[in-house]
Symmetry: none
Subunit: 220 residues, 2 copies
Amino acid sequence: MHILIVEDELGIVQFLQQGLEEEGYQISTAADGAQGYELSQNEPFDLILLDWMLPKMTGIEVCKAIREKDKITPIIFLTAKDTVQETIEGLKAGANDYIKKPFSFEELVERIKIHFRNQQQDEILTLGSIEINLAQYLVLVNEEEVSLTHREFELLCYLVKNKGKVCTRNQIIEDVWDIHFEYDTGVIDVFMNAIRKKLNLKIEQDYIKTVRGVGYIAND
Amino acid sequence: MHILIVEDELGIVQFLQQGLEEEGYQISTAADGAQGYELSQNEPFDLILLDWMLPKMTGIEVCKAIREKDKITPIIFLTAKDTVQETIEGLKAGANDYIKKPFSFEELVERIKIHFRNQQQDEILTLGSIEINLAQYLVLVNEEEVSLTHREFELLCYLVKNKGKVCTRNQIIEDVWDIHFEYDTGVIDVFMNAIRKKLNLKIEQDYIKTVRGVGYIAND
DNA sequence: TTTATTCTTAAGCTAAAATTAAGAATATAA
DNA sequence: TTATATTCTTAATTTTAGCTTAAGAATAAA
């Protein structure tokens, strides 16, 4: 999650940046309104923290400018302007929240999380640098999309879901192929081969190992 | 827009109800936590205003209970509990905002509006260069109007609303056809075929892909 | 080295999806 | 209401993706 901080007081910027990075967010900063608006147009942010009093463009102006095109990205005002009228002006400009200085950092974090709650509900499995998006039936290897067939996808998911445990050929045939009797063709091998070929992992990325005589195991 | 007020102090309830009705909202009220939770389960509200100190169930308990099933409906705490710790507790329970008494009615209205902003704007859906106007049942492809039948329109909307996620055949039959048992004729295929034919997209505009063995996915 | 296991490849087969057409159901107009 | 047009559904046909098999190559174990 990538957050843009638009604030001119260096002390506050550093305080926010450090705290939010510790929370696991990626942070970009802008020291004046114009630069903040500029940045917001060049790359997509997941949330924007905005001061009111800024050089070149005020926070209100930045907020309105962003909202002309983008109605979605959450914007939170973070400002010493604490009258009701100012709060209302900020919210009317299109902000999603308005927090008055001095504020509690912990409360800020909770208020930030509110906006991410609704977005993060897609289930994602990972195996090393492999990312599996279950909702999209999508596999990313080192950020690159790899297209697997349905069976390949299911087999990979099965191994990843059982990360750290050896999956025997029998278990795989049972659970992935749904065959409940002795079955010993080379199907699994063929599919493992196809998956490995498509994932095209480097030698040091040996996330999927074969356990000779038994089956396979995934591990990051 | 229908708002539920859960608050035991009659004076505040009347004040809120009158003010919000003047703003054009439909209001329901509950005088204790248990009744508030009960109401929230029986009919869908667009937003819930929640006091903290309530008879029978506290606001926190109501909030958590609602959030067990429903992660979406905005919940705003409106309470005299004004410490940082309490605010955080409220937000962590799943609330979307936390307003401290005494509050400005005007600010409350603005904060309520924030949550409706996002809902009301999806009158128009887009998928690449396809534009779907829900209010007019109108579809534009590269600015050109395309006339779809009702079912075709619904199916297309469903895919677009779930943009980025694979829609399985079962989900489609459930949600678009409203059939709740195993049903495996070729209807979906026929309609997908009709939609694709009518949209008449170029090869590079492959916004609607079939996911073999699973279903379909829309993506711009 | 011998033997067993796993990997790789390619060809045939199977099942899923696309297409088409025709009849049933529903909506619209006369 | 009846007549007409539109839309929906079913079913048969064609096409295509991908699953399976089997056989030889490569690799690991004995």
